[in-house]
């Protein structure tokens, strides 16, 4: 490597020592940091390998998961009207899960990737960008990639599996409101998981999927909460993902089966109503989502402080 001709290069001319520089420029900075983190996440997600592998992870994986569940339902539930209803329930939930798992696991994977694989976490951390905001941005980009998988899986379900979605019957306001209200808590769960991964070592790589897998069971994704034991139903009812899935499902397939409520369910015992209506679903989503989001932010703040106390931000564990 030849020594560069750096002496006197204009790039090294500075801007002086204006104390105002230490203050930053507020909202404009925040917007730029978030957008850059989203872009960085997208670049890392979409660009990390060749298009074929990107296709496999973004398209083939959710479709394969969908097919697996559909075949299981086919075998267990048989055909006929009830079998069709169950299949529709499962297909929609499974397609939505591709997006959910990306949003929930995304920030945690970003922590692990940036710290252990790219070794850039410390540089991101000591930049003026708010660390939490950077992780939210990375989570948004993962969520976007997951959403692509959801859309592809839904199209596949409609075109190949014969899922019937009547666009005229879709409750569009409900769909938009639920989608928007649901995204912050989904990302918040991801931030909470990232807070945990900031503290842990090699085994952390399995945490995001393990947590998401556990959440899968108590979110009414492919079966209603009513078949779970009461304690698990309580977890499901305070879980914003349950209400997000129920809301989106109810909006796309109005009048279809709901994952919340039904005969013998805790919901019926508590409220006396068979299933939650649209407004109730939105209100509970808002409440559980707010609590989850605030809790996740608080947890992250504690974790970040502890990581700084214990020197975990640039720790690499060789995994």
């Amino acid at each position: 490597m030849n020594a560069p001709a750096v002496v006197g290069h204009p790039a090294f001319d500075g801007n002086g020592f204006d104390p105002a520089r230490a203050e930053g420029i507020g909202l404009a900075d925040t917007r730029r940091h978030l957008w850059t983190a989203i872009r960085l996440g997208w670049q890392v997600e979409s660009n990390w390998t060749d298009p074929l592998l990107f296709f496999i992870y973004t398209v083939a994986k959710p479709v394969a998961s969908l097919l697996l569940l559909v075949f299981m339902v086919q075998i267990v539930g048989g055909t006929g009207a009830s079998g069709e209803a169950v299949r529709t329930f499962v297909v929609l939930g499974s397609a939505l899960w591709a997006m959910l798992i990306a949003g929930i696991a995304g920030p945690a994977w970003s922590v692990l990737d940036d710290r252990e694989r790219y070794r850039m976490l410390k540089y991101l951390y000591v930049s003026p960008a708010t660390f939490l905001l950077v992780l939210v941005g990375r989570g948004v980009s993962k969520l976007a990639v997951g959403a692509m998988g959801t859309v592809v899986a839904l199209l596949f379900a409609v075109v190949v599996l014969g899922l019937r979605v009547d666009l005229a019957a879709v409750n569009w306001p409900m769909l938009v409101i639920t989608l928007l209200l649901g995204l912050p808590p989904v990302l918040a769960l991801g931030i909470g998981l990232a807070a945990v991964c900031l503290q842990t070592r090699q085994e952390s790589w399995s945490y995001p999927e393990a947590f998401a897998g556990a959440l899968f069971l108590v979110s009414g994704v492919v079966f209603p909460l009513s078949i779970l034991p009461a304690p698990a139903q309580i977890v499901g009812l305070v879980n914003p993902v349950t209400w997000w899935v129920a809301g989106v499902r109810g909006a796309i397939l109005p009048g279809g089966a709901s994952s919340v409520g039904g005969a013998g369910s805790l919901w019926v015992t508590l409220t006396g109503t068979a299933i939650p209506d649209a407004v109730t679903t939105i209100v509970v989503l808002l409440l559980t989502g707010s609590v989850s989001t605030l809790s996740a932010i608080a947890l992250f703040r504690v974790s970040e402080r502890r990581a700084r106390e214990r020197g975990l931000l640039d720790r690499t564990t060789g995994s």
Binding site: N2, V6, H9, Y118
Partner: protein, 360 residues
């Protein structure tokens, strides 16, 4: 210093700084009551062996790590409570690591950071291109980071470190793992950047004596978490100039330099840095000797003769920073096994050395 920088608070002010890693079976003290002040515009060096506490100090100053006790500030901003302000006016570059988003191009990666540092989009691209030219990576700007050589990657890291035109630049072993020419390029780059604007401050940690000697206006010698001496390179060297500094070459040295260090009149004896890999069993062993006066040489020769060692060469040397270190610590950098144990323990929680010393 200019009139503008004269009004600035100290670039670095550290008082009673302690850092203890809570590891098992017993906590490790990485910094043990450090006091330090660096003026704006200084090129300041922290010199010490692995495990001395250099990286821990730089982590605290760059807001990556909180101190256990004591205070530290950068241009008057407290590292514990005003981290956000510090991050806008400083930057850091560490050596000996393969960091970077390998799938991005050099230009993309730097642009991302320019945005985190608050530059506008267009301004960011312009700044990135300027810096890539300045550090000699203009031809690699569209190359993926994963394809860069170690030296090129470190140049890219240097460009990242200069993106925000920091008031203070922290360099943690920036030439570690680089070949001679790449290391020289990095040193030239740092000197050129610092020299371009009065008031720019650099804190360099290194365990390369010559690097510290060449670059730093003042140096603190650290070991086991304490500052043992602080001053300009010539001030530090004068500490040992009153004694005779010799380079002794023998065909063998059973028992190592410790045998000589125990002799009367010998202040210190350490393997010379240029033959540390040869060890004491080699055909030619060079030892740096510091004697209280020349008369002690008679005893050294007698001891060598009795041990069956044949003297191949003997000459007086100008004192080096290593001689200063040996006198202060009682051992050379080559004999740092004990010191490394401290860092090994610390890596249980702060695994710096996994990056910096992968051969371990």
């Amino acid at each position: 210093m200019t009139a503008q920088t004269e009004q600035l608070p100290p670039a670095i002010a550290v008082q009673g700084l302690r850092r203890v890693y809570p590891v098992k079976p017993k906590p490790v003290t990485a910094l043990d009551g450090i006091d330090l002040e660096v003026a704006p515009g200084e090129f300041f060096g922290l010199l010490g062996p692995n495990g001395a506490g250099k990286t821990t100090l730089i982590k605290i100053l760059t807001t990556l790590l909180l101190p256990s006790e004591g205070k530290a500030s950068i241009f008057g901003f407290d590292v514990a409570t005003e981290a956000a302000k510090i991050r806008r006016i400083m930057n850091m570059v560490a050596g000996g690591e393969q960091s970077g988003y390998g799938i991005l191009t050099v230009r993309e990666q730097l642009w991302m950071f320019s945005q985190f540092y608050g530059l506008g989009s267009r301004e960011g691209w312009r700044r990135v291109d300027e810096l890539l030219d300045a550090v000699g990576l203009g031809d690699q700007r569209l190359q993926r980071v994963s394809t860069l050589s170690t030296g090129q990657r470190q140049k890219m890291n240097m460009a990242r470190g200069l993106l925000n035109d920091p008031w203070i630049l922290f360099l943690d072993e920036p030439t570690l793992g680089l070949d001679v020419s790449a290391a020289r390029a990095v040193r030239e780059m740092v000197l050129a950047w610092k020299g371009a604007v009065p008031g720019r401050t650099v804190l360099l940690t290194t365990h390369y004596m010559a690097e510290a000697d060449e670059l730093c206006e003042r140096i603190a010698i650290v070991d086991h978490g304490k500052i043992l001496a602080i001053g300009t390179p010539s001030e530090l060297k004068r500490r040992v100039q009153r004694e005779s500094v010799l380079r002794l070459e023998v065909n063998r040295l059973d028992g190592g330099p410790a045998v000589l260090a125990r002799l009367p009149g010998v202040v210190s004896a350490a393997l010379a840095a240029d033959n540390v890999e040869a060890g004491t069993g080699a055909q030619r062993v060079a030892v740096n000797l510091v004697l209280r006066d020349d008369s002690a040489l008679t005893g050294v020769m007698a001891a060598l003769g009795a041990a069956g060692s044949r003297v191949l060469g003997l000459r007086t040397s100008e004192p080096t920073l290593e001689d200063v270190f040996v006198e202060l610590v009682g051992r050379g950098f080559a004999d740092e096994a004990d010191a490394e144990a401290v860092d090994d323990a610390a890596t249980e929680t702060a695994d710096h050395d996994a990056e910096h010393h992968p051969e371990r």
